[in-house]
């Protein structure tokens, strides 16, 4: 094995890759070779560090120097200053607005300080394309331990005692699910990994697959041993090309090392994994739809029971677990269930990964112990709301969830508390909204999404969500009537109770939750025909400030509705009856004289 004095870890996740991190790595390689340092400094591509807002991210070990927003052209200076002269390049260090000095080490950054990385442990630490780096982090030791020292029932017992619950949204106890499949007697069983991350705004599963693919393969093999399966499938979105490539590469490597395939570790246990691509259908996150799609069919769900643990893929007993759930399994086996159960709240153990996005300063991927408050997430880890705006709501659970308001800032986040607050854990998308976001519009956005993604099999979801969307369209275009709110609530209740699968059963949640917490905003749209957040175009009226207007007439020349009139060098006016609210005049005006309200 070769030794290097310096290791340079460059993020190769999707966020940083979008910001030219690939070119940065290329430039670093070239500069290092140019200066003859290739035997001293090693550049490693890693998975996501999580701090996507400041990408491309790069960390230099052994010092742990954290560089952010590094551009490809910075490579020469970093090599010259840091790797040769030993001085960090100060202008590229992370600077916290509250602190006067630059922060050098990663662990002292506020964004990382409150986190506990369990599922994400290897992301940003190892080269995901090198199986030896994974093994050096005790990789595949958990599998060896299970195969050599534990019976399948003992493995299931450890997972049950750890209190691990499904991280894909439902929160079903993982050990119990495995036990059901174990008890189903059949000569063929399957393990399926659900990597069809459909929640718009959630990207934790992708980051785990990109940053630590072997962790998922190992956990799937452990699950296979526990339930008695010899074949696994990973159902992953085709929209995640980097993740798919890394998985293919990892499977190939694991086979070469004898860690997948026949007689693993010299035992009788055989296990193989294949990849199946999702082709862009949100409903395929639902387990029975996912199974149909894995079999090559339209991803339509079917009624349960029979549950997949009894009759799943190709009608054989199957367990389906989410990526993040699997990512916890190897750590539980290695560190013991007591360790895992010591984190979190009474009924929600361990940690949860959230994709923090929206109107928040530190956008990225975070992992926190269950029970952390929303306030810590938003103000400590997230660094608060940009431009000093006021926090309005945070949406969890994506299109199936609901919003949390200021009143929920201090409740400990876990499965049960979120459900009690009218939202849900979901897969972990956490979108922050500020005072400039209209909650009626957000509800309409989510419903438009679920309506489009409804597979069409059952009428409550297919027709009901369409009717709800029509009502919301009415409200946001100023045609709302007083009975609309009641109609929305009635429809929502029916759709929730009568739909076939979780997509329909949860589709009305964003509407119900925004009506509950922001009823006044709905009423302002319906009764006053006003959008308080000034988002809904049709409800805005445009006005020219006579003090600021110089009478140049530019706006009138471009107005497609001829709604603006006036004399040159005198203030112009807008005829609100004629105005089609296209907003063109605002962009044309050089004096900022036109406003909307």
């Amino acid at each position: 094995m070769e030794f290097y004095r310096t290791h340079v870890l460059v993020c190769a996740g999707t966020g940083c890759t979008s910001m030219d991190s690939r070119l940065l790595r290329q430039n670093l390689y070239e500069e290092i070779i140019k200066r003859g340092l290739e035997k001293e400094v090693k550049v490693i591509e890693t998975g996501c560090f999580g701090f996507c807002n400041l990408g491309p991210i790069m960390v230099v070990y052994p010092e742990g120097t954290f560089y952010c927003q590094v551009k490809p052209q910075d490579a020469a200076q970093i090599v010259e200053e840091h790797f040769i002269k030993g001085r960090p390049v100060e202008r590229l260090l992370y600077q916290h607005e509250k602190e006067t000095t630059d922060v050098v080490e990663m662990e002292n950054i506020e964004f990382f300080k409150h986190q506990k990385r369990v599922a994400l442990h290897n992301c940003g630490l190892i080269d995901p394309e090198n199986i030896e780096e994974y093994i050096a982090q005790d990789g595949y030791f958990a599998l060896a331990h299970c195969l050599k020292d534990l019976t399948p029932l003992e493995v299931i017992d450890i997972i049950k005692k750890s209190g691990l619950r499904g991280r894909g949204g439902g929160g079903f106890p993982t050990g119990t699910k495995w036990e059901f499949a174990y008890k189903s007697k059949d000569d063929q069983k399957y393990v399926v990994c659900n990597a069809d991350e459909g929640d718009p705004g959630a990207f934790m599963d992708r980051s785990i697959l990109e940053g630590d693919p072997h962790g998922i393969l190992e956990a799937m093999a452990i699950a296979g041993y526990a339930i008695g399966a010899n074949q696994g499938y990973i159902y992953v979105r085709a929209e995640y090309p980097i993740a798919v490539e890394r998985l293919k590469h990892a499977i190939k490597q694991a086979r070469e090392y004898g860690l997948l395939g026949d007689h693993i570790f010299g035992t009788d246990f055989c296990f193989n994994i294949d990849i199946r691509l999702g082709a862009g259908a949100f409903v395929c996150g639902e387990e029975t739809a996912l199974l149909a799609s894995t079999e090559g069919r339209r991803g339509e769900p079917r009624p349960r029971p029979p549950f997949p643990a009894v009759k799943g893929l190709f009608d054989k007993p199957t367990i389906i677990n989410n990526v993040e759930t699997f990512a916890n399994v190897t750590k539980i086996i290695r560190n013991g269930w007591e360790w895992f159960a010591s984190m979190g709240t009474e009924k929600s153990k361990g940690t949860k990964v959230f994709a923090l996005a929206g109107k928040i300063n530190n956008i990225g991927l975070i992992e926190i112990p269950m029970g952390t408050t929303l306030r810590t997430i938003i103000y400590d880890i997230g660094g608060g709301i940009p431009k000093g705006k006021k926090f309005k709501a945070a949406q969890t659970g994506g299109p199936s969830g609901g919003c949390l308001t200021e009143a929920h800032l201090d409740i400990p986040i876990d499965y049960d508390n979120l459900t009690a607050a009218g939202s849900m854990m979901g897969s972990g998308g956490l979108i922050v909204m500020d005072e400039d976001n209209c909650m009626v519009d957000i509800a309409r956005f989510f419903l438009e999404f679920t309506q489009e993604e409804s597979c069409g099999k059952c009428p409550p979801c297919r027709i009901g969500t369409k009717r709800m969307l029509e009502i919301l369209d009415k409200i946001t275009t100023g045609k709302g009537t007083p009975e609309d709110l009641d109609n929305l609530e009635t429809l929502a209740t029916t759709i929730k109770s009568a739909s076939l699968c979780a997509l329909g059963q949860t589709a009305p949640n964003p509407v119900l939750s925004t009506i509950k917490h922001f009823r006044k905003e709905y009423e302002a749209h319906i009764y006053d025909k006003k959008c308080p957040a000034r988002v809904c175009q049709a409800l805005l009226s445009y006005k020219i400030d006579p003090q600021k207007c110089k009478g140049c007439g530019l706006c009138a020349r471009y107005c497609p509705a001829e709604a603006i009139t006036g004399k040159i060098k005198e203030p112009f006016t807008i005829d609100v009856e004629k105005c089609i609210k296209c907003g063109d005049c605002i962009t044309r005006c050089k004096f900022g004289a036109i406003s909307k309200e």
């Binding site: 718009p200 090559g296 991803g299």
Partner: protein, 161 residues
């Protein structure tokens, strides 16, 4: 409809399809993978390709058509030289992706899902690209543009003229 000439000639598209099938296998569970690779090669999935695939895989055409129309990744229409995919995930939406879409629609004079008459641009909304740190974000044939404002639209289009 497959090739009707009846002679030994074989549409080169079908030769490529055979290669893909040989590599992936003809099992029904490989249908989505096969369609994905064929679309990657051809750009879209016209009816004669679906018919050829139906015969080659031994699956009814109705079933293949059902799968093609179910998944948003597949298209039966040719797309433009440049495909502008605007992320319509929640993070992008709350940061104003809707306004970006409106600006593209205005400048290209087409709606989302349509292609310009000269075949240059296809405007598409897409599901979360997972680059929420760059929101609002879009992707033109694999090249990512982030932290967009409506002022950036003309400049992006100009790069692909």
């Amino acid at each position: 409809m497959s090739c009707q000439c009846g002679s030994a000639c074989k549409d080169e598209r079908f030769v490529k399809i055979d290669q893909i099938l040989d590599q992936n296998g003809r099992d029904e569970s490989m249908l989505i993978q096969n369609l994905e690779q064929i679309q990657h090669f051809l750009g879209f999935l016209p009816e004669d390709v679906q018919a050829y695939l139906a015969e080659a895989m031994g699956i009814p055409l109705s079933k293949i058509y059902g799968v093609v129309t179910f998944y948003s990744l597949f298209t039966t229409e040719p797309i433009g030289k440049y495909k502008i995919s605007i992320c319509l995930g929640t993070a992008c939406y709350v940061k104003g992706a809707g306004e970006i879409v409106a600006e593209f629609e205005k400048q290209l004079k087409i709606k989302v899902g349509q292609t310009t008459p000269d075949g240059r641009f296809t405007l598409a909304g897409c599901r979360c690209l997972g680059a929420c740190g760059l929101a609002p974000v879009l992707n033109v044939n694999g090249k990512v543009f982030g932290r967009l404002t409506t002022d950036d639209v003309a400049g992006i289009l100009a790069q692909f003229e």
